[in-house]
């Protein structure tokens, strides 16, 4: 997969399709911090920066913002640093709305309420997960997308145990305080979903090549909005495949999504 030679789009893997879909999350963004979290989201974000989004700025994974397209998972890769961005400064950017984050989710419901904090009783959880982290503040202040590497009815649930990330119904209930809330895409190993429906309930936007609508429906624990015609997710072109080999030389994406 990490062959640097020319690849025909017909050889694109599921992981390549996921990377392109994750890149596309940032397509409508202006000059913001593209902050995808996790290997495949990071690969997608770097692909966005390398193609349609040169104005995007990204982190080095710690306290600096960088301008070059750094490969993922390569120790000592060159970085072109343009800003000091320790944690406290990160809040200055995100509370100002200058960021689009891609987070994970242990649970997500039809309105995009997301949980990665814990499962079960708050006093003694069945599973202590990440905690609230920055999800409440992210989702109420700027654009958010999600990456779900294993689409299943355990993740796509009727009701989340805890809302760490704010969904559309909860944001609407806030009135003006919810005005900066916007969920863009939910990208999974099977499909791309969005909230472009009258009541912002989750819609199937596209299925990845080789996946059927029925498979997505079966792997989703609530009723998805299914358009009359569901397109296939786009396949990255030859140039994108070449860039992916540069951005992800050790094929971390293939390790994350196997199909």
């Amino acid at each position: 997969m990490s062959d640097a030679g020319t690849r025909d789009p017909s050889t694109a893997t599921r992981a390549d399709v996921c990377a392109a879909a994750l890149a596309d999350c940032f397509r409508a963004d202006g000059e913001i911090l593209a902050n995808p979290i996790g290997n495949l989201p990071l690969i997608g974000g770097r692909l966005a920066k390398a193609t349609f989004g040169p104005q995007l700025i990204m982190t080095d994974g710690e306290a600096q913002l960088i301008e070059n397209v750094m490969p993922v998972g390569v120790d000592g890769a060159e970085k072109v640093v343009s800003h000091w961005n320790p944690y406290r400064r990160m809040f200055d950017l995100l509370w100002n709305g200058r960021r689009h984050v891609i987070m994970g989710a242990s649970q997500i419901d039809r309105y995009g309420n997301q949980n990665f904090a814990f499962i079960g009783d708050p006093a003694a959880p069945k599973a202590q997960l990440l905690g609230m982290r920055g999800a409440p503040g992210n989702t109420i202040n700027h654009r958010t997308s999600y990456w779900i590497p294993a689409h299943s009815a355990r993740v796509f649930v009727e009701r989340v145990d805890v809302a760490s990330g704010v969904g559309y119904d909860r944001a609407a209930a806030l009135g003006p305080a919810g005005r900066f809330h916007e969920l863009v895409h939910v990208v999974t190993n099977l499909a791309v979903l969005d909230f472009e429906t009258p009541d912002h309930s989750m819609r199937l936007r596209s299925v990845h090549p080789g996946v059927t609508v029925d498979e997505v429906v079966a792997a989703t624990g609530f009723e998805l909005v299914i358009p009359a015609s569901v397109p296939e997710s786009r396949v990255p072109d030859t140039e994108e495949l070449r860039l992916l080999a540069e951005i992800d030389p050790t094929d971390l994406r293939g390790a994350e999504v196997k199909a």
């Binding site: 710690e62 306290a63 600096q64 320790p86 944690y87 406290r88 809040f91 995100l94 509370w95 904090a117 814990f118 708050p122 006093a123 003694a124 959880p125 069945k126 599973a127 202590q128 997960l129 990440l130 905690g131 609230m132 982290r133 920055g134 999800a135 409440p136 503040g137 989702t139 109420i140 202040n141 805890v162 809302a163 760490s164 990330g165 704010v166 909860r170 944001a171 209930a173 806030l174 009135g175 003006p176 305080a177 919810g178 900066f180 809330h181």
Partner: protein
Amino acid sequence: MPVPDKRVTIDDVVAEVRDGMTIGIGGWGSRRKPMALVRALLRSPVKDLTVVSYGGPDVGLLCRAGKVRHTVCAFVSLDSIALEPHFRNARQSGAVTNTELDEGMMLLGLQAAAWRVPFLPSRVGLGSSVTTLDPALRTVTSPYADGEELLAIPAIELDVALIHMNRGDVGGSGQYLGPDPYFDDLFCGAAKRRFMSVERIVDTDRLLDEGPPQSLLISRLMVDGVVETPNGAHFTSCAPDYERDEAFQAQYAATARGDEAWHGFRAKYLDGDETAYQEAIR
């Protein structure tokens, strides 16, 4: 140099921490944690602590040793190991309760305490479960024309703050030389008693030898005691002095699998004093 001499011992610091206190611990995840001070707390008889932290192994160790009743943490992580296993066990068994809050809410809560105001308003937290999980939280309505309703994030007042810096002087001026100050100055601002361990105490007129003025994060006006603890953040990172000891951290994390593993680890590394610890990890 005419600065006060605030040098203390690790035992002096621990003597300040009493049952039921709220203590704040600086650093972030498994980065620049005052681990020598945490290790000393593990050996002390103190109990029923409330721990406020951008949590890492400091929180996990204190929970495992039975020192903690409640935590105020947006996360507890070992960075390279996403979930702190001892904290997980403590939460899942119900031994420790946690105030669920956003990372930024914690910043604002500490800032409010440091500025001596009862709360700071923010949109952060609204709409999420933090507002229902903590029934004490209140909103506040803007008194201006917009009339927006915001969350009144309460001040997080600390009895004691513990932080670790790369360099400091005897007066308590503290310097970080790594990439991120984290929130250590706010922890000091929010606390009644403030203690700083440092990799090395240097003469006050040498404080600018290794970093620019803006690396002097900690004002001695915000510090009550300084203690030199070389390698005192081990096994967390303390860049540029040293990186995280990943092998040791993995060994620590594995002790969450059972009592036997933990007791063995504890006997080997934690039951002695800091000198013994530093000998044992050599």
